[in-house]
Symmetry: D2
Subunit: 337 residues, 4 copies
């Protein structure tokens, strides 16, 4: 941490800051230059609140030098984390493909889709039972019934299931039935939920918030890991920008960036990112080329009849074709699918 | 709702859409022009999902004409809603001033600040007991102890108290002790929390999310009102932009805009919006001039020692001076303080 | 400037950086702490390119401590700059009001509006002769004819005229005829135009770009001042955000912020910022309360017939009423109108 | 175009709007439903200004149905446009690679880099002679000397040259010496420059603005094409978002999107987009996988000594390796490199 004092800071004011620093068990070391306004703070500066120092009127500027996340950081965990879900590995050499409808609409629907995903090369099934909807009047999901429908789909296909949790009160249900628990973009900073998920032993698929930075996203992963649950899968699903043709803007540069900053696996959701079925294939190919560990795609046997997100949902056949093409891209960069 | 078909849509494709519309109890009326590509949909279109129609490859465009919120809308409730909290009225002619620390740090601190707020003309006390922090290692608040400290502050001053809820599991505690329950920016779309707050009879101060539109904000208010709780106070606290000098960008145009769209009161938080104590006064004067129903300000007897948000916290004396200046502005526009 | 090396930087690598710093006539001073990774750079660091240092693989981080603007900065010019245009002063105690149509549509139109502005208390006339339009097929302005129409409006009313320049090739025409030359938001970083305007002796009204930071805006003012023209008036006209109800988001916090950072006057344009005539009055009152030096408003005798920006244009009577209300706000904060 | 009246619009008010529509040679056709508030406007609605209609207080809403660009649109030009620059084709089956330094620093530098680009499989050379810099005190480029240095580089290698124009006054110089004229992000809406470039017969590489939508970008291309110059190459170089780890956010979804909307070729600049040399390779692979027609990359024999953009510049060897990897990706999707 670097503290810069204002030009007009008095000696007494500077002393006050230095004492404050000492009180926190840290050392303030002046940069001996033309003036004595800049101090480097040595020690565990995570104990010191930037805001508190900034509040002193004699302080011009406080800068943090090190990253605020620890368990998430590749610095302290150089090898890739591989997360096992039954026979499936996420974060290993194989790029995984997860598919399914936006909303679970009934047992027949999800079971039929699950078989289709399996036949077309999918590794896991996604589907929403609890749905975060902007309007209170929109379809809110089948809830527990939807979860049980997914369980049936898993029983019939053997594929693990991914579904979104919206509230900590439902954790027992999710731990009992679900293989990978998704935290949606709108709940990325629902810290009470993150804390609760830190105490269980289940993989968490953590979506990036609509307007959150990568650092905030990694800090949310840190919340889960700080609680003891190391099984975090990061998921980029597009960020909010000014663009109107697409629902959000898919940020594929997060793939190499997250791989440098962290050891956690990263999965890409091109469906929510673009909001358009006809952009999904290109974005899948690009994501695999950029080094993604997996894809999570909205697919349905008849997208036009999907109860939600219809315009961004692809057919099961399209899912299969994307798998074939991505497989070839994966091979070029030395990975399998 | 207006549906536009693609130029190359076949007659059979168009028929399919028209049937779909009819099935939902709606009428599709062609705009008789040079072509028959554009249809107006008449009836309660809230039943129809835009996405579902967009998913048909023959559809070029679907546009919703009416606003998606109902109970929040001034159209159906022309007079201003006035929310009573003891003797205090929010949304009436008097502009209210709420003040207090970012975090409650102990009984002495909050009680001392509460007295200071009262002496300097404040109408209610704010203070955080449960704190949403980006880092799991940062101070998370005194929790129940903090709530009880606030109750003591209320007992001594008679001022109502405002504090933030972060999880539906704490609702009983809040209903029992708190006068106005705050929903923070990061939880604006925590729909499970909103639903739970819709079932109680307490005023809710709903902050706008960091990157949410006004429509999304009003839809979150609609969630609370749809559950039966009409006591919603909207609170603008700045939105995320590219600007780095300020923490967020305060959007004061929401004041006249929300007043036109809705009957709910609106309160401005200049502290979180700007992140800088020396910008707070100007933004308070501007907010009152623009027609705000209230101000919620971070204030402390010694801002430099505040455990969080120190750099945006003002002194109790500064709070009093702002009150005096705002009062004069309020009088110019025909309001009291 | 603070340079932080990576943990694994070798001694040789560090030496290379220190030599580079010396070569630029600067001194690198280590912060003597638990390690020797952090260096403070002393001297005129504006000569050193952050990017160049960052390019060394052993460097973790480079941070600039001082502001990059000089002539614009209040540090080196503590008193407010007051810009004189005939009898009019901008930046003094009096808050000025500039009004007029978006586009000049003909002599009769602009002359009639100019008289209306004068009668309703306006201090200067605005109007577009060269129009920056998103579409090449939209009305592009009357060009030279429009400028001459404005000259006629000035002759008849005695009010100074403000109009936008779009290209350096037109500077002679503007110097000859125009009192205040406007640089539009889209040209805020048209550096060749800024350089050319730095060489003339005319007030420049520099609008903030749609997605530019305050620092970038002040750097564009620095371009003009670096050329020798000190007469720069800053103009906030809203920034691009996700909000759809308003055309842009008016950032009023720039008023106190710019007043702290710079000595230049600042004027607010609520018409382009909101895009809605019925939000203009509230935003004018708020701007004056926050300390703006002036307002620039789109006004027309019949807004509905304006050739451009009709929905954000107010009537001349509304302009007069806003003047009356703002005058009272100005008095409360110790200013005149 | 669809016009919706307010509920309380009187018959007389509606008549006034309908007359206005007729006066522009258009027909307003009511949607016969439960009310008569919604009208479809038939005919060439590009003549009608949305703002003008919105200005009527009885109007609730005006929506444009068709796209505002014509010559750029694939609707009216179904086949891909292929732009020839000597023997090089951009927009054909071959994906092109353009490389070179951010700034031209002298003849030796650019000639040496040009040879390196050629040896490593590059198809054209980029380099800045006129540099748009945020600060007036930063290196502004070698200007004409830089252009002539590039000409020498072309003479020695036979590769075409790409460089940025900043002002219409320099067009003759660019037409005489340069093969592809670049318009930078900050000048994307410098409409006077676009108009001037519409009158010449040279390929224009049009970068997307930092905070511009795809529609605005295509409208800027329309400006050039409306003047008669059909040789427009679109270039995505990242948009401004809240992310701080990267300089900008590369939007690769524009590749399939632009391919659908337009017939023009699209090239990706991963260097400016990410601002980090170690992200360039991944983003190149992703861009080719997504269907880009070319890549434009900052490369230098010693990136650490580049006078600008050093931290995002790769070595010439890295350029060659990227070429090899991209070639394999290109083959997978049926293209050459």
């Amino acid at each position: 941490m670097i503290i810069t004092m204002k030009n007009k800071a008095t000696k007494a004011e500077i002393e006050e800051i230095l004492e404050l620093v000492n009180k926190h068990g840290l050392k303030a070391l002046p940069i001996h230059g033309d003036d004595y306004r800049v101090f480097g703070i040595v020690g565990d500066t995570s104990k010191l609140d930037i805001e508190m120092i900034n509040a002193y009127s004699c302080v011009d500027n406080v800068l943090r030098v090190s990253t605020p996340f620890k368990k998430v950081s590749r610095t302290f965990h150089p090898e890739n984390t591989i997360i096992k879900v039954g026979n499936l590995e996420i974060g290993g050499n194989k790029v995984v493909m997860i598919g399914g409808p936006c909303s679970i609409e009934g047992k027949d629907q999800i079971v039929r889709i699950a078989h289709g995903i399996k036949e077309n090369g999918g590794d896991a099934i996604r589907g929403g039972a609890y749905k975060p909807r902007t309007s209170p009047y929109a379809f809110q999901g089948l809830a527990t019934e939807g979860i049980l429908n997914m369980v049936e789909a898993r029983n019939q296909t053997g594929l693990p299931i991914v579904t979104e949790i919206m509230d900590a009160s439902k954790i027992d249900e999710f731990v009992k039935h679900v293989d990978i628990i998704q935290v949606g973009a709108r709940n990325m900073q629902n810290f009470e939920l993150l804390k609760a998920l830190g105490k269980i032993d289940k993989p968490i698929l953590l979506k990036r918030g609509l307007a959150n930075t990568i650092e905030e996203w990694l800090m949310s992963a840190e919340y889960i890991m700080a609680g003891g649950n190391n099984k975090v899968i990061l998921c980029e699903r597009g960020i909010r920008t000014f663009e109107k043709y697409t629902r959000n803007t898919l940020d594929l540069s997060v793939i190499p960036l997250v791989k440098k900053l962290s050891h956690l696996p990263i999965v890409i959701d091109p469906s929510h990112a673009t909001g358009k079925a006809d952009l999904v294939e290109s974005m899948c190919l690009a994501a695999v080329a950029a080094g993604a560990d997996g894809l999570i795609i909205e697919a349905h046997y008849d997208p036009r009849k999907a109860w939600s997100d219809a315009s961004q949902t692809i057919t099961l056949e399209a899912f299969g074709k994307i798998k074939e093409k991505c497989k070839k891209i994966a091979e070029v960069i030395g990975r399998e699918m």
